[in-house]
Structures are given as C-alpha cells and as structure tokens.
Subunit: 730 residues, 2 copies
C-alpha cells in the first residue's frame, strides 16, 4: 500500500435513527453482489438488502428492479439464555469498522446483558473477491462466566424490496450443519440457489440442530463456555443464480462441500490479496487532508465493490449495489462518471461495462423503433434487456390523487452519445482495437443512424435541430437545441464516420459485415456528414457565452444567494413548473460539455461560461453529478480553492450525507466524478502526443497528491507535491 493512513471507516456508536445511512456506508460487495451494512441480529426499520447483479424482476411503477436476495447475514445469538441485542442491556463499548484495504466489515461490542452478564463479541464479514459466490462471516465470543451460547442462522427466502416480494420458493434441504434453499423470481423466472454452513470452534458439548421450516431453513448450534473461554462461529454462504449455471442450488451446495472444515482464514487471505491487487492499480493518496483522502478511497472502494469482473451483461446502477434508489437501473452515470476510473485503472472492468451496452443493443433498437427513429436509442434507464425502464409516472409526494410524469425516458436523448463517448475514451486509453472492431463500432454506427433520423431540418435557419429534449440539467425539460445534446450528437456523428474509416482500413471483413447487416450505404453516410455539419450551434460572438438551450437567457432570473441557507433543492422550493421557468440549473450542461469536448472551448470561452453557469447552478441540492465536474473546470480556470469547495460537496455526499439521501444508496456517479476531479482536475492529467502529463492545481492545504493510471497498456504513477506547501512526506 502507498500509505497506511485513511483506510478505515469507523462508527463509534449504535444509533437506530441513522441506521439506514450507516447501512449504505457499510455496504460491502465483490462485483457479483452488494450487501448493505445491516447487523447480524435484527432491528426495526432496517433495510436488510443484498443485490445480485442482473437479478431483476418486475414491479409496479418502476417496471423492474434488482431483487433483494435471501438474507445471508442473519445470525442471532442467545448468550446465557438471553437474546443478544444492542437495544437491550447495556453497550459497554461499540465500534464498527469497514477496512477499505480488504473490504472486511467488523464490529466489536462489549455488552452487558439485561441480567448483568458481560460479553465481548467480534463480528466480521466479507464478500469474497476471489470467489464472488462465497460470503463469509465469523463471530468471536468471549464469556466472562460459565455459560452457554446458542447461535441461529436462518437462510430466509422471506425478503422483500421495500415491502414488495419477488421470490417464490422451489425447494430446500438441510443436514447437520448446512442447509440450502432454492428460489425463483416471480416474473423474470431467475432461479437462485443458496447454501449456508455453520461451524463452531470452542466450548464444550457442542450440539447442532437444523430446523426445516419452509422458506426459512435454520441452523442452530449450542455450546457451553467456561469463564474466559472464547468460541468462534463461522458461517459461509454460497449464492448462485440461473444467470451463471443451469443448476444454481447444486452449485451453491457444491461450493460449500469443497471448502475445508475451517474456511474463514484461507478465504480471507486470498480475498485480502485480491483487494490488495485492486488498490495497487488505483490507489490515491492525498497528504494534508485526511478527510478528503478517506472520502476518495471510500468512493473508489464502493465502485470497485460494485464492478462486475466476471459478467459483461450487467452494469453499475446509479446507486451501485448499495440501496434502493433508482432500483438498480443504469444511467449515463456509468459511462460518463464512473467509467473513466475503470478505463484508466481497471480497463478489463471498463470493457465489461461497455459490453453491457453492446449486449443491450436490441433493447436500444427497440426503443428507437417504438419512437419512430432508426438505429439504436439507448434507454435513459436500462436494466436486464436495455429496454427503456424509466418510470413514466410516479406518485406525487404529497397529493395522492396526482401523479408526476417523468419525461427523461422519452426525451433525455443525450445518453446515446454518452455511451459512444465512453467507448471512444476507452479505446483511446487502452488501444483495445478488438473491442472497437467487434463491439464498439456497431454501437457507434447504429447510434449515428439514430441521431441522423432524430435530427429535424429547419429550412429557416438552415440547421438540423433537436427540439423537445432534456439535457443533463433536468430542471428544464422540453427544451430545444440543448447545447450539450447538440454538441455530443455532432461529435458522435462525425466520430462514427471516423470509426467506420478506421474499421475499413484495419478490419475490412468486419466493416463489410456491418455494412451488410446494418444495410448501411453511402447515401446514409453522406447524410450523417451533412447532419453533423449543420447541427444547430450558437455562441455569443461578443462574450463567448453558449446558451444552454434556446431561450434559456430569457428564463426568470433567480437570486440563488437570497435563498440561502436552504435544505432542499431549487426544484422542491419552486415546484417542477417553477424551476422549469427559472434560470437555475440542476447541473451545468455547458460546463459539462467543456469537460467532455474541451476542443470547443478556448481559455476565454471556458472562463466566461464557467463563471456564468457556476453562479446559476444548484450545487448543494441539485444533481449530485455536478460538483465533481465543477471542481475539474474550476481547476482548469485556475481556482483550486473554489474547486476544492465543489470537490468536497461531492466527496462528502455519502460519508457525511450532505444531501440527506445517502440512505437510498451511495452516489456512484459522484464517486466516479471524485476520481476524475482528482486526476483530471487537481492532477491536471492530459494525454499528449508523448504520453500522459500532469498540470497540477492542488488546493492550498494538500501537500501531496499521488495517483496511478494505466494508459495504452502501461502503468503510470504521478506523485505531485504542492509547491505552495513544500516537500512531500515519506
């Protein structure tokens, strides 16, 4: 490791009121599944949740959602005949820690029972990064008198997603110290096999019992302890689904059968090694700012924990695998905010995530077709198949007779260009020609076809236009000629032509195959060129300002400062219509554009637009995607302290819950944005003809910034000292 500090997320007291926030923070995962940080024993109001990538099922209103898997954490303890619970007796000491180095979540509790018995307990858990089907728990219990310990572990299919049930029971079984359960999702028909083993080391007169309760087989073990004795209870659970194997319950049982009698240590060792390799590829060190440093590592941990390593048919949802927000649906958040981190540190994972888009091309084609367009139009919210799953209507938060129409699935069209942008960036960064030739190119061509069919010719202006859209700034819907959308569409069309040129030179057979299968002729390519050249684009010649969309400058002027301090978004304050009519942004499309396509902005244009839109953006409660991008551009215009303010808004979104919604799951796009802010903002990384180069712009109090990337197969480490604060530390 580069640095021994700032690796541990710590909770020093147990608080039921903030438990749902803590559950998000203490989420662990291994790229196959993620499990929120609920406790082994149960508490009212908890959201005991495990999401397995790709296990979606139908649900009203939001159409489909990641299904809450069986609860593998359940482990309840009867100590000397009294049920262990933090809400009973007395907590003498409490500390929960998530070790980001190895994804080990532990909880150390000294407890005095209601009847006065003292106990010392250490709970540990991890989701194996080596074998992602294995979930490991250990409880170490010390007794301070002669007593008994009973541990119960139920493998329960009785789980729900915020009250909604998805599992049907198919079968179960048990023997001695292990049990299995076989379930199937009610609509999508995905089968899940789960198996659990409970072993105990320590104590005397050990007794194993097993309860064959339907849908909740339970393993029970009792042992007797003498004062000072320590007992270790080890519980290993295996999950397989029919997405990986035709016999998920057999696979889960076999996974346990092959384990040694005492499995924890061996599994933990290889798991920790796997995490060490992850961090060697991507760790970031900030000296001089422990709070920021820990927050950055936490963000990277959560991204790594949700990153599919064995599966290229899934992607990372807006809340990763850590909460119910957006129900596991995949947005542009993945491509534009999270992917750069993977592209530049773990390109194998980036390739999986981009392949998800390739495998869901049929869904995107269906969406285009149903909307009357050609080619592939990616879903604003995407799940198992790539079909659009944005809820069309959601209940009004206060008036139950009303509904709110969600338009993003209909008209937030920029995502199709964003996906291509990420493919291009990946290709540039990795040189993975094979991916571009066999997956990326087809996406590029079919998306270009979509843009060309979506473009509307305006004879008066002599421009192709995109009317009735939503840009990244969702406070304004049904707008015409959104600058971000138009510029990305232009970029996508012209880049698609470049990709085709390249393909024809390097992979002529593949190019011919695509031309044939897509029925792509010269006249269509000519049209792409023409559309790209004539897409509506307007910039004020006198001051360089780019209008976010037609008529934006005429929207009602709001004095943001006058509304401070506030605890809700501008949209909540003004209402949906009110925000639509005002000039305040949820996130700044033009600043975003300046980040993605810097060639469109000279230094003066960049500064002018940043200043203008920065003053008109709802940074605190608007989009959580904005602050990291603002931080980057603030660095580019030489304002590191302002950049730092933006950066910390992003960095603390989860750990300090500055937006008040971290209980819904982590802000995964923000987490990815934080890494980009570090590398491309403060680090000032640019890829120049002779390789990657940094133009640092560190906040005053940062003494040193170190980060690593891979670029075209080569690892790079950048170790940047702050000239303002002097020498870096050892």
């Amino acid at each position: 490791m580069l640095n021994q500090r700032n690796w541990i997320i710590t909770e020093n007291c147990f608080d039921l009121k903030s438990q749902n926030h803590a559950e998000t923070i203490f989420t662990i995962g291994n790229g196959y599944l993620g499990t929120r940080g609920t406790h082994e024993e149960h508490y009212p109001g908890e959201e005991r949740t495990t999401f397995i990538h790709g296990v979606f099922d139908d649900v009203p209103i939001v159409f489909t959602e990641l299904v809450n898997a069986p609860d593998w954490l359940d482990l309840t303890l009867r100590l000397g005949g009294e049920w262990f619970s933090l809400t009973e007796g007395e907590i003498l000491s409490y500390q929960r820690q998530l070790d980001l180095r190895n994804g080990l979540l532990s909880r150390r509790v000294e407890w005095r029972s209601p009847q006065g018995a003292r106990w010392l307990l250490l709970f540990e858990r991890f989701a194996s990064l080596t074998n992602p089907h294995l979930l490991c728990q250990r409880v170490t219990i010390k007794a301070f008198e002669n007593t008994t310990v009973e541990a119960r572990a139920t493998l329960s299919g009785d789980t729900d997603n915020l009250n909604y049930k998805h599992w049907d029971w198919l079968g179960q079984g048990l023997e001695h110290n292990n049990t299995w359960l076989h379930l199937r999702t009610r609509s999508s028909g995905i089968e899940l096999g789960a198996a659990t083993r409970l072993t105990v080391d320590g104590g005397e007169n050990l007794e194993h019992t097993a309860w064959d309760t339907r849908n909740a087989p339970t393993l029970v073990v009792t042992t007797e302890l003498k004062s000072g004795d320590i007992v270790e209870i080890e519980k290993i659970t295996a999950f397989y689904t029919s997405r990986e194997t035709t016999d998920p319950q057999g696979a889960a049982r076999r996974a346990l059968e092959t384990l040694p009698k005492r499995a924890w240590s061996g599994l933990m060792e290889s798991h920790a090694r796997a995490w060490q390799r992850e961090w060697e590829a991507c760790d970031v060190v900030i000296e001089g700012d422990d709070r920021a440093h820990l927050a950055v590592r936490f963000s990277l941990f959560q991204l790594l924990a949700a990153a599919p390593r064995q599966d290229e048919r899934v992607s990372i949802g807006a809340k990763a695998l850590s909460g119910y927000g957006y129900r596991g649906h995949v947005f542009w958040d993945t491509e534009i905010f999270m992917l750069p981190f993977f592209t530049y540190t773990r390109p194998e994972i980036a390739r999986n995530l981009l392949s998800y888009r390739f495998h869901t091309l049929e869904g995107a084609r269906k969406k285009a077709r149903e909307n009357g367009f050609n080619g592939a139009q990616f879903a604003w919210e995407s799940a198992a198949t790539g079909e659009e799953v944005t809820p069309t209507w959601v209940p009004h938060p206060t008036d139950r007779t009303k509904l709110i129409r969600i338009w993003t699935g209909d008209i937030q069209i920029h995502i199709s260009a964003d996906v291509c942008y990420a493919i291009w960036q990946y290709w540039q960064a990795t040189g993975d020609d094979d991916f571009m030739a066999h997956r990326g190119a087809e996406i590029f061509l079919d998306v270009a076809r979509f843009w060309a069919s979506r473009a509307e010719w305006n004879g008066e202006t002599g421009c192709y236009e995109f009317t009735d859209v939503i840009g990244p700034d969702e406070y304004h819907d049904h707008v015409d000629n959104n600058a971000y959308t138009n510029a990305l569409a232009r970029w996508q069309l012209s880049t698609a032509l470049k990709v085709l040129d390249w393909l024809e030179g390097r992979y002529p057979t593949k190019a011919a195959e695509l031309r044939r299968s897509l029925e792509l002729d010269e006249s269509e390519l000519t049209r792409w060129r023409e559309v790209a050249e004539k897409i509506y684009w307007k910039q004020d010649e006198s001051n360089g300002l780019i209008e976010q969309f037609e008529g934006y400058f005429q929207r009602r002027q709001i004095d943001l400062q006058a509304l401070e301090p506030r605890t809700q978004s501008i949209q909540s304050l003004l209402g949906i219509e009110g925000a639509n009519e005002a000039n305040i942004l949820k996130q700044p499309d033009v600043v975003m554009l300046a980040y993605l396509l810097p060639e469109l902005f000279d230094e003066k244009t960049l500064r002018v637009n940043y200043e203008y839109y920065n003053a008109r953006t709802d940074h605190t409660f608007g989009s959580s995607l904005g602050p990291a991008i603002h931080a980057i551009i603030a660095c580019r215009v030489g304002k590191p302290d302002e950049a730092y303010e933006h950066f910390m808004r992003a960095a603390l979104a989860d750990l300090e819950d500055v937006r008040g919604n971290a209980h819904d799951g982590i802000h995964a796009a923000s987490a990815g944005g934080i890494w980009q802010a570090i590398v491309f903002g403060f680090g000032g990384l640019r890829f120049e003809p002779d390789g990657p180069k940094t133009y640092p712009c560190l906040p005053r109090h940062w003494r040193r910034l170190v980060f690593r990337i891979r670029y075209r197969g080569q690892p790079y480490e950048f170790d940047l000292c702050n000239p303002q604060t002097g020498v870096a530390e050892g």
Copy 2:
C-alpha cells in the same frame, strides 16, 4: 332445515389450472375473517389468503387494502417419509365439499405415494361462528402398512398481498405443542396476535418438536402407525388484533389455553348450531331447480360468512372476504345490493353495516370539504376511515407507459343517497327508531346538506342540476343530469326533511342537539325543499321514456346482437372512449331507479323503460350488479322466463364463473341481488298497510319457492307454489 337437498358444493377433481377459482368458491368465514380455499399443503400459483375485517394497510396505487393475515391453514404431512402432495404420486380418489349448512370444508383423498404406499386422508376445517377468533382444522389419516406420519404446522408471518408485504415481526414464542406470533402492519400499525396448537390422537411413540424460526415458528409432530391405524391431527389457531384488544398476542394465547385437550368436536358442535340458527332465519327453498337452489344458498352462505356480527366499524367489501378484487373496499354494493338480505333476515347485522357509515361520517365530511361542498359526501370506495380510497390512476393493462384515470371516486356521487336509502329501508323494515334517532338522522341531514351544496342552479331551465357525474352505468362518465342520481338526490332531500320532522316529534332533545351541532337553521331547510322541488327531471311525455342522462338518446347506436357471441365487455371491445360514445349500458340506471323508487313509474312507464334499456345493456360482461335487478323488473312486467335468464346470469357468476373473474373473489353484490330477485322478483313481496304480501311470478319449472323474512320484529315464512306446475312437494 327446510330441505335436505342442495346444501353441498362439491369438487371432484384436483386441477391446478382452476385452483384460484376454486379458492374463491371454497372460501369459509365467520364474519370476523374469511379464508380462501387453498389447501393445507402448498401449490404453485395458489393465493393463500385470510382477510380480517378492518385490518387495512397502505399500499401503492389502491391506497389501502385488507391485509393478508398469517396463514393458519399450513399443515404439511410427511407420510412414511414422503411428502404428501397431489402433484406427486397418484390420486386414487378426490372429493372436496363445502357444506353450506355449517360452513365445514372437507377434503377426502385416497392417495398412492410415489413409492407406492396407499393412504386415506380426510382434511376438515371451519372458522368458528361461535367464537370467531378460533380457526379449527382436523386431519384424519389412515395407514395401510406399518409406517410413520410427520405433521408440520408453521405459523408464518411471511404472507403477502399479491407480492406486497404488510407485516412486521414483533415477537414469537413456543412450547411443546403450541406457538404464538406477534405482528404489526407496516403503515397502519394494527397488531395481530396469533397462536396455534397442534394435538395428535392415535399412533405410537408420539413426539412433539417445535422450531423457533423467526417469523415462522413451527410445530412438528411424528407418530408411528400400524397397518389399518388411524391418526387424528387437530390444529386450532386463534387470531386477535389490536382492533379488539390491547393485548392481541396474549388474547390469542389465552384463547387456546382455555380449550380442552381435544377441542374439535365441542367447537364444531356449537359452530354448527350457530349456522343452523342463521339458516333458520334466512333459508330459501326452490323446488324444481337444484342448480338455482344451490346457487342461491351459496350466495347467502358467502354473505353470512362475511357479515360482521361483533363489529359495527366495518362493512362488507365488493368481494366480501374472499379475494383481492377491489382490495376489501366498500361500495354502494353493500347498501343497495347486500343490505336488503340482512335488513329482512338478520337486522342486527344490517344495523352493524349501517353503523359503519355512521362511524365513517368524518371521512365523508372530509371528502365533501375537499371537493368544496358542505355536509357529508360518502366515498365511492371506503375503507377504515371513510375517506375516499378509489384509486385515482391505475396502470393501463397493455401499454405500460399509460395510465387510466379512474373518475368514480371524484364524480360517482349517487352513493351518498344510496346509503340513506338503505337506512330508510332498514328503518321501515325494523322500526328501529333508536338507530334512526341516534345514527341515521345525522347521516340523513349531513347528506342532504351535501346534495344542496352540490346542486347547480340553471337559470335558463329553472332547474337544479347535477352535471359532470357518473351514474350506476359506468360506461358513461362525465354526464349531466343522470336520471338515477337526480331522482335519488330528490328523494334524499325530501326524505331528510321527513326524518327531521319525525325526529323533532319523537326525539326533540336529539333533534335540537343535531340542529346545534350541525348548525342547521330554517333557511337551510328551505333551501333543501327548494332544491328537491326543482331538480332537473325529464320524461318523454309521448312514450314515457326517461333519458338516462342528457344526450343519451343521441349516443351512437350499437347493435348488441351483432357483437355476439363475445367473451369480453363492450367497454373492452370498444375501448373506454368508444363505450362512452355508444349507447350500450354497463348496467341500466333507469331500471335500477324503477326498482328503488317504484312510485315514479306507472305500469306503462315501467314496461317502456324496461324494454328500451334491457335491449341496450351489456348483460353478460357489463356490471355484475345488473342481472338481478333486471330479473326483478322482468317479473314486475310479467316476464318470468326472461327474468329467469337474468337471474341465472347472476346466480352462476361465482359457481360457474360465467364472467371469468371469480378468482378475484365472489360477486357479493350479485349475491345480495340474487336474494332480492328471489324475494322481490319471483316472490313479488310487497309491504302493504296490512303487512307483507307476495305477488309471485315463478319461472315455469319452479314447483315451489319458500323464503323467510323478518318485518317489524315478526318472522314471516312464504311458501309459494307454482300454479303452472301443480302441488308442492313434502
């Protein structure tokens, strides 16, 4: 009993495909709860459901629903080591019977196990009518070789309403052969205590085990049988909720503690006596038509099974307690269709049902207030509080991006008059002045106030109008001056004035109290009188036709015959808009009106309107409420055979599932309508100054019709022979 035939509903084969229909038919209940006829063991696709009156909880879209209680039926058997299941091994014989005389549901199965062992099983269950908190099951098993029997009974809180979960676990416990569970609904906070006891008689080496699985405590018993041995397994469950007691789980446990060791026979005996008393009050005999006779008794059984005897804060929903349709919500179905049966046979129950409206007056006042009116406007769909719970929007059945706006909760206003109509009818039939004085009058006055504030003065016509309403015929919404609504409003206003007059004469203190609490002055009464006198009313002088609503005669003429045969409603065929524009009725408002307010119709008017609207009504797949009313009016115009055709459409709606939706629950309004068709249609019962008198009009093949009523405290039996078919049987 009046007659020994036609008491048994029988199913002679086990068919998974039609199991949900059978579950509805084999629903049992005791006025406290209803339980669908699922089997003791589990089958895929089953809807294991118990609804307890008044136990509502929040749910998306439909706002609130009766909650599926814990499953008290679960009893799985391992016979000689093999799990008993009708989908394994061989069914040698199968018969399930619901005995309507006593509500005993039994199932006799001869089964050959997959390994070839033969077994004879008799399953029995009833929900005690004597102590409605007690639910009784018995299984009698005969072995044909030396073998073992294991029985497991799980008391599971893991139940859901069509995937939606409502229960939180609070606690549980078990000892030897009994267990208890303590739950709470997630939104409404209603607690439920359940307790179960499992006892066994027969076999050797009996062993009891208990599994303390969280949320699913399980009792297990094993015994050894010799060839020819019989074992009886008795399972008694008790349910209490916090609606009846502050300590529901204690009450449930105590209910079992006081039972004798072998409880079935004693409980069954008093239960059967209680049912016998019910039938003595209300039985109907039809000689010459077994099919109709059984269907009538089945309808009465389901009404009696759902009728609250101990609770005046609940009412009977549109599907009684037998299925998820309409989620337990209460409609005008109760007052207009079901209540007459209770009013004239079990007035104590009718009083409870009408008291429900009194206790929900606050909800009705809230609805009026929120709609800008005065007084009390009853909810179109009502649940725990009387607030409007009609879903405002429901998902489109095929296009998931669309929603359907449900307008009934907004503008189907006739229900407020319907409630008063039922109160008036109850008062007339019973002479229950106490009810009218202390409950009915307040409803009458506050509803009159609503109508007066809702009426719109039209200066041009010199009339008070009710525009933008829905009448009983829901194919046509947003109509003006619906004949049914206007006539009932007029009736309600003028009757309210009569009620007040009566109250002032007989209960002057109560009258003064109401005038004070409602702030009712003379000017308001004058206004009621004026509105009642001038409500829009139009009848064609030449032919006597009443137009269902303004402009109905101009709606598009549809040839109903040309669309036959069909398997769906006219609304499904034409679409919501298409049906709205056409002249086909879901149910005939004017015919309905002729039934409720016969004084408005002379003989010619009755005939003309019946013939006209009868030809334009979707009898087969329109409203299930219509056919019984059509049957009555057909009798009045002297068409008993046509009446019979209508009658059988109603009578077979559940048993023969002629509408294809009986799996959602029984058609409770139709069930009540069937009784009215018998008594007021075929029986021709009228209340004349010298008492009730019949003017029979029996279908040709009915030899005899017998029914009983109570009227002003006196029992009456009418024994009608058909002059066409000769002498009645013994």
